[in-house]
Structure formats: C-alpha cells, structure tokens
C-alpha cells in the first residue's frame, strides 16, 4: 500500500526508523516496558527488512504480536494480540543469559561516554536527590544481550528552574544501572566475562551514534537534516568522537511512515517527546 498523501515525516517517526534500522533480520529482539519507540521500531522492522526477526513484547512477553494499537501501559492484553503465545518471565531472561537474545533497547536519564546508563537515582544512591523508577531487567540484559541499541529523546541539555543546564550525556554517571563498554574502574566488559557485545547504536533526537572501536567512546555517526555537529557538542558534557564522514540519516519512505501511523493510532510514542521535537518535520 503506497500512501501518496504522505509528503512529510515527523522527527519521532524518523527516530523510530533509525532504531528499526539497527535490527538485523533473524535476530531474537526484545523491548522493555515503557518503550514505545523501540516497540514501533520492532513492529516496523519485522514488516519491512527483518521478516525473520523474532519479536518478544516488553511486558507480556508475547511472541510475534500484531497489536491493533499501543496503549500507554505495557502490560496489557492488547499487546499480546496476534502473538503465538506469551513466554514466562524466566524463559525470557534465560534466553538472554544463555546468549540467545540478539538485541535489546535501553535508555537512561544519564548516559556516559562508554554507554553506561543510569535509571536508578540522581545523587547518592543510598539517599538520592531524585529517585528514578529503576532498571527493570536492564542491569542483567545489558550484560547478557548480544547487541544493545540505546535510545533517548532527551539529549538536549535544557536549563532547570535554577538556570543550570541538565546534561543527559554526562562526564560523571551517578549510578551505573546498565553496563556499557567500560566499567567505572576502567575494566572492559570482556574482562568482566560478560557475554553480550554491549551498546552498538545510540539514537537520540540530535543524531545517531556508535562507539569508536579503539577508545570505546561514543562517536557521532549521522545527523538529522536540522541538527549540526555543534548541536551535539553543545549538548554533550563529555567530548564525543566525531566520525570523519558524518552524514545525514536516511528518511523513512511513505510506506514506512504509513506503517508506523497504523501501529500507533493513539500516538502513544509522542508521550516520549518534548513539544519542540514533536514540531520538527522533514519533507520527503
């Protein structure tokens, strides 16, 4: 079905497409709860370039579901619709622990240069200034899963009420709830005996990143049509590596966009985005 009426695409839809592009055909892929962007990316990937992908849904653990809409909560029967069956919670985490989970999606309120993530707390862990909801399965899965795609819609460092800019991509991470490439004491994930390969891609509202193979530091790979290298540098507290051939991300086709809109008639994914990013649109 080609929807010729679609002539522009929103930034959230472009981000969903970038996340989808990190999925390889034939991988067993899992998204966590409260993750509409990866959920839509998985639904999209399986219906386009990755038909053999095994889709495991985030809280119901439904296998290859085809939900009629995304509700704003993750553990709902609608998300099992069209699925083969629902796995048990132990089945799911055992798949990862024995090395059979190909990809997972994680986010964080703090991200450091090595892709370590914090969704636990800001300030001292024992008496936090801000207690965040917690890591779910992210702590274990960050060690076990073959490849991790990180996504966040909060790269831009906005000022708080006191006028202090709040960086999400930080020099110092308050609590490592998910392990990236290098631990706090400088130990690499390989030396820790972890089975998974760690973060492979990072998709934000400012650009798409991978990790420099030598230094393991976050590396800018591509920008959006309306962002610049300077935007990335200004909004990242540490100094990221800039790839020599930074390009512009490919935009989804009208077919991709029509699929995303069909999957999410309630626009549940928009809840993840700030109004300024919802307003960003690109002509096809």
């Amino acid at each position: 079905m080609i929807d010729t009426a679609i002539t522009s695409v929103t930034l959230p839809e472009v981000m969903i497409y970038q996340v989808a592009r990190t999925i390889q055909d034939g991988e067993l892929v899992f998204h966590g709860y409260a993750s509409p962007v990866p959920t839509l990316a998985m639904l999209l990937a399986k219906r386009t370039h990755a038909p053999r992908m095994v889709h495991i849904e985030g809280a119901t653990y439904s296998v290859n579901p085809d939900p009629p809409f995304l509700p704003p909560t993750s553990n709902d029967w609608v998300l099992e619709r069209g699925g083969v069956m629902s796995l048990g919670i132990s089945d799911l985490f055992d798949i990862a622990a024995r090395g059979d989970m190909g990809r997972m999606f994680l986010s964080g309120v703090q991200v450091d240069r090595y892709g370590n993530l914090n969704v636990m707390s800001i300030g001292s862990p024992a008496s936090p200034r801000v207690k965040l909801p917690g890591s779910g399965g992210g702590c274990n899965l960050s060690g076990d899963v073959q490849h991790v795609t990180i996504w966040t819609t909060g790269h831009r460092a906005l000022a708080n009420k006191a006028g202090k800019r709040q960086f999400r991509f930080v020099k110092h991470i308050d609590f490592i709830s998910s392990i990236g490439h290098v631990a706090r004491d400088g130990t690499t994930r390989e030396a820790l005996g972890l089975r998974g390969g760690g973060p492979e891609w990072v998709v934000t509202e400012l650009g798409v990143f991978d990790f420099d193979p030598l230094t393991r530091v976050l590396r800018l790979h591509a920008l959006y049509p309306d962002t610049s290298v300077q935007d990335v540098l200004d909004n990242t507290e540490f100094e990221p590596v800039i790839a020599p051939d930074v390009g512009i991300v490919p935009l989804p086709t009208p077919e991709h966009i029509a699929l995303i809109r069909r999957f999410d008639p309630l626009n549940t994914h928009q809840h993840e985005f700030k109004a300024t990013d919802l307003a960003r649109r690109f002509s096809l």
Binding site: N75, I89, S90, A97, G136, G138, S142
Partner: protein
C-alpha cells in the same frame, strides 16, 4: 515454602491480611498495571501494617500506594513507576528521597535467580551479569567468585524466600487451587519461593469447574483464598476488566500534590472510609464503572477508548 493441606481455605480479606505481620517480606503478584492484588493491599493499610519489605519486578500503583500509606521500609523491586502514561511514582519517589524507605533496587534476572534458589532449595544461584554495575555496591549480600569450571568471574545471589506471596488470580476454588491467566509475570516464582501464599480471586468456582480450567497452582501451596471481584482495581484483570485509567489519573494527581493531599484526597475516601470491598467498588463508580471497564470486549475502538478517557487523556 510450606504445605497447606486444609480443604477449606476461603477467608475474608480481613482474616487473610492477618497472615501478613509488621516487618515481613512480601512479594506482590502481577506487574505494572496488570493483575495486582490491590484490594488486599488496601486491607493491609487499613489494618495499619508497617515496615514491610516488598520484593518484585516491575510494579506501579501497588507499591506506590503502600509507600504513600507509610507501610513500607524496604523496596526491593526492579522498577516502580507509571511508565510513559503518568511518569515517575510520586509516593515511592518521596519515600526514597526522604529516607522513609531503604533504596534497595533489584533487577529482574537477579531476582528470578534468587527466587529460583529458594524454589530449588539451594542457598544461591550465579548470574554472569550485574558485574560492572553499581548494584554490586548497593547489595552487600551479592558475592563474586571465579567460576571453578570456566575461570570467568560470576556473581552469586542468595536464595530469597519471601514471607508471603500475595497474588490476584482470575479463578480459584475453596481448597485454594488457582487458575492464573497470562501474563503470569513472577507469580509462579513467588508462589513456589514464598513461605505463605495468599490469593484473592475474581471468581471462586466449584472444585469441578475450576478443574475443567486446568489450574496452574495446586492448593497445597496456598494458605488462604479470598473472593474479591474487581480485586485488582484500579489495575486490569482481563478477561474481566481493563485498567481504570481515569481512576489512576485521579490517584496520580493526589499523589503528586504531596503527602497531605494524598492522605486527604485518596487514602481517606478510597482506603479508610470504605467499610468493605463492596463499598469501595461503589465509591469508584459501581456498576456503571464496571461496565465501562468491561467494554474492551466490544471491539478495538471500544478498547482504544478506554485509553483516551478525558480524565486520563494523554497530556
């Protein structure tokens, strides 16, 4: 795990709640906005239970409600929040930040291994993950060792046997056999690992009718069973009802406004004032509300409408 052989386990909410005592470790069934035994938790609050240590995976209003009532001293969950729907859990967050509850976050596979160790009757199980994260510093009871077979480092996590597992099942019988419909979340792990199991059920069926449904929890693990229709409200319990998003929005507004407002506008009218569970159901909207929450069965449009109610509309 204990064995409970009584033929007659049916109890009232008030009697069953007496099994839980101050300071106990409790595992709450369900997860996020699905099949949480909230009617039972309201009864625990009414009875003034204190210093509870709650364990679990990804939870929401259940743990937040207990925190808001000051009933919890340790939270060992992997997540407590209202997802992208409403956001962070206000009472839980305040309790952690004000030092009223110990911050003791866990992670799903870690907890699964701890519960399975209890289920298997072994003192610990290993995980390969967790290394490199700060959870090792948060949990002094986790140990590390070099695997004698592979030479690689491992984290050992101790068996965790909750004092009481509390689950809400769709169906049960008076002997305590249960049929829980998926997603099962961690319910079966909790039931097998815990010392006591309390079940609330949507429908208490005659033994032969329950048997025809192929129960997935045998009676001898269950100490008490309570019939509590809409006992998971405001979370969902399909095929009976969807979650009550409008009520959760009201809950969230009260919780966000601070402890005094939460006590006055939520705990008083919905937890302390109702004399019975039936009274609670009347206060949250009675038959009309129940019909609305059942309307997910009327097709995708009706189901979608439950997530776009004006009160709970996406901001």
């Amino acid at each position: 795990m204990s064995i409970f052989t009584s033929e007659h386990k049916q109890a009232s909410l008030a009697d069953a709640a007496c099994i839980v005592r101050d300071g106990m470790t409790i595992a709450i069934g369900g997860g996020l906005s699905w099949r949480e035994p909230v009617a039972f938790l309201r009864e625990l609050i009414r009875q003034g239970r204190r210093d509870l240590h709650v364990v679990g995976t990804a939870h929401g209003v259940d743990v937040d409600l207990l925190c808001g009532a000051g009933a919890v001293s340790v939270v060992e969950e992997s997540y407590v929040g209202f997802e992208q729907d409403f956001g962070m859990a206000p009472n839980y967050r305040r309790a952690c930040q004000d030092g009223l509850t110990k911050v003791y976050d866990t992670c799903c596979h870690t907890l699964i291994q701890q519960l399975r160790a209890a289920e298997y009757g072994v003192p610990f199980l290993p995980v390969r993950s967790v290394q490199g994260t700060d959870f090792l510093q948060l949990h002094a009871e986790y140990k590390t060792m070099t695997c004698p077979f592979t030479g690689l480092p491992l984290v050992l996590v101790p068996a965790l046997a909750p004092d009481v597992a509390i689950v809400h099942a769709q169906y049960g019988d008076a002997q305590g056999n249960l049929k829980i419909l998926p997603p099962l979340v961690a319910d079966l792990l909790f039931i097998r690992a815990s010392k006591h199991v309390i079940a609330t059920v949507e429908q208490l069926l005659p033994a032969d009718e329950l048997r025809a449904l192929q129960p997935n929890v045998p009676y001898f693990w269950v100490e008490a069973v309570v019939e509590a229709p809409y006992g998971a409200h405001p979370t969902s319990c399909y095929p009976f009802y969807s979650y009550d998003r409008a009520h959760l929005a009201e809950y969230y507004r009260a919780a966000q406004a601070g402890p005094e407002t939460f006590a006055r506008e939520y705990l008083d009218p919905y937890v302390f004032a109702p004399a019975t569970h039936e009274d609670y159901l009347q206060r949250v909207g009675g038959i009309a509300k129940q019909q609305t929450l059942q309307s997910w069965k009327d097709g995708d449009d009706a189901w979608m409408a439950l997530f776009t109610t004006p009160e709970g509309a996406i901001a």
